[in-house]
Amino acid sequence: MSEKILMCGNEAMAEAAIRAGMDAYFGYPITPQNEVTAYMARRMPEEGRVFVQSESEIAAINMVFGASAVGARTMTSSSSPGISLMQEGISYLAGARLPAVVVNIMRGGPGLGNIAPSQSDYFQATRGGGHGDYRTIVLAPASVQELVEMMYLAFDLADLYRVTVVILGDGFLGQMMEPVDLDKRPAPRDLPVKDWALTGADGRKQNIVRSLWLQDGVLEEINLELQATYRQIEANEVLCEHYGTEDADFVLVSYGIMSRIVRSAVRKARCEGIKAGWIRPITLWPFPYEQINAVADEPRIFLTVEMSYGQMLDDVKLAVAGKCPVLFYGRAGGAVPTVEEVLGQIKKLAVPVA
């Protein structure tokens, strides 16, 4: 029988990754995700698996590159400044079509910023982040339980599509403790054999992992294959949830920890007779454009709420495609919109125009 235990997000996620069959972890210390590195240092050797504290995030992502190329399930974790350093490596992973999982426990930026929770790396995560035409799947958990379940999903999606999957959390999710059931996991996917992995050309043709293609037209071919994979992901892997959108005059869009604050604000607004609802993208890429667009078929006002100064806002506008007004409320740099603030924003919109 499975039982709930109290765990912080960083440790719960680390344990889930181990249970999801991660063979190798590489990381460099940075707050607010140090508990992941410390947990892996303790647990991975117990499991006879690989833990290396790398000399930098540039090294960490390249260690991931190597481990992935030889067929291992592998991941790294960091926080915003470290993830910036990894962008080159993530681009190479995309070019070489190697699966990997990267966890970003976002903190305040830009620059060294601070160590407070933030959602300011949305653009970087959902637009690829490094150079070249590529995408990473981006999963945005809102609770420690979801963080755990998404680790299993992340490794499966990475292996299934041979892409990098980013788990986009924040300092709250990493640091907070919640009851969690570590045995709850999504149904495993049917995964292809990694026949491309560099395991030694023993009785088979040589395998090559590469991202340099100089002959005429070849790189275009490679890009088209990548794009075909991305279209497949967009068709099959969008996740989002919503509430009250059937009759809502006001639809709030938010993700991650912010979506829980919004949920409470909407509940309170409903108590006061205001018809509010919410949509929560769970995958930030692929983004639920169609789902949001469908909600915009009725005249209503959209309000995007983020712990940033307006990043997902762009995607919501693309989804709504001009059919309804899209407004924004957000705070960042360590500031977090409270339930009361969000409720205030909803009430402001609900004032009848004279």
Binding site: P29, A38, Q53, I58, L112
Partner: protein
């Protein structure tokens, strides 16, 4: 009444954020005294690392910059090339210099940049909560070496100063400590020598490594930490002048 000790002007009159028994404060004072004695306050630019000393500009009253983790020698290069007449020093921890910034320091030496590097070796990452640094000694327990550093897994302590000393790009490399008053005085002399070489435009990089206590993450009292430097740490990091070309 006779004044026997006075705060040097370059060291600001304020409490620091460092833990009790930390060595950063001593190193700050020595650097400040040297800057004042050499009368170079007005043309010195300091580089604060990412690490516990990230706020060094709150304590050192000279022009200072805060840079990305490990990149101080690259930033220093940019500064010195633009302003050869300025005195440029970087102040870096062992995570910053020996780990994430190993490439930057190596190539600053490779290019024989005329800069001064103060390298604080406290055998751990202080700021992030006491993880292993490249300089963590064998068997030392840290947050990421819960069973103690084992060379079969994490390799051996990295002696960066020895490596840099064999490169033609360094002009002066010395390892000191702040574990007793005599050593503190010697450390100050070394820092002064390093700055003087840069002032003379001596051809190469000058580096002073300072073995510095971190009682918090060594889980010791401040006095035990000083003893640990002298009894354990110096075995991996012997105190000595590794190179001084100014004599020849």
């Amino acid at each position: 009444m006779q004044t026997i000790f006075e705060r040097t002007p370059t060291l600001k009159d304020c409490p620091t954020h460092y833990c009790p028994g930390c060595g950063h404060g001593i190193a700050h004072r020595l650097i400040s005294e040297v800057i004042d004695e050499l009368d170079i306050t007005s043309r010195t630019i300091g580089i604060a690392p990412v690490g516990c000393a990230v706020l060094a500009y709150n304590y050192l009253d000279v022009d200072m910059i805060e840079v990305a983790h490990g990149r101080a020698p690259a930033v220093a290069t940019g500064m010195k090339r633009v302003h050869p007449d300025k005195i440029i020093f970087s102040y870096q921890g062992d995570g910053d210099l020996a780990s994430i910034g190993a490439g930057e320091i190596l190539h600053a030496v490779h290019r024989a940049e005329h800069i001064t590097v103060i390298f604080i070796n406290n055998a751990v990452y202080g700021m992030t909560g006491g993880q292993m640094a490249p300089t963590t000694v064998e068997k030392q327990i840290t947050q990421t070496t819960p069973r103690g550093r084992d060379h079969n897994n994490e390799g051996f302590p990295l002696q960066v100063s020895e490596i840099l000393a064999v490169m033609p790009g360094t002009i002066y490399v010395e390892r000191c400590s702040v574990s007793n008053p005599g050593q503190v005085r010697h450390t100050k002399k070394s820092i002064k020598h390093a700055f003087e070489l840069q002032m003379k435009n001596a051809p190469g990089l000058s580096l002073v490594e300072i073995l510095s206590p971190c009682p918090t993450y060594w889980r010791m009292s401040p006095s035990q930490a000083m003893e640990w430097i002298e009894e354990v740490m110096v075995k991996s990091f012997p105190l000595c002048c590794l190179k001084d070309l100014s004599q020849s």
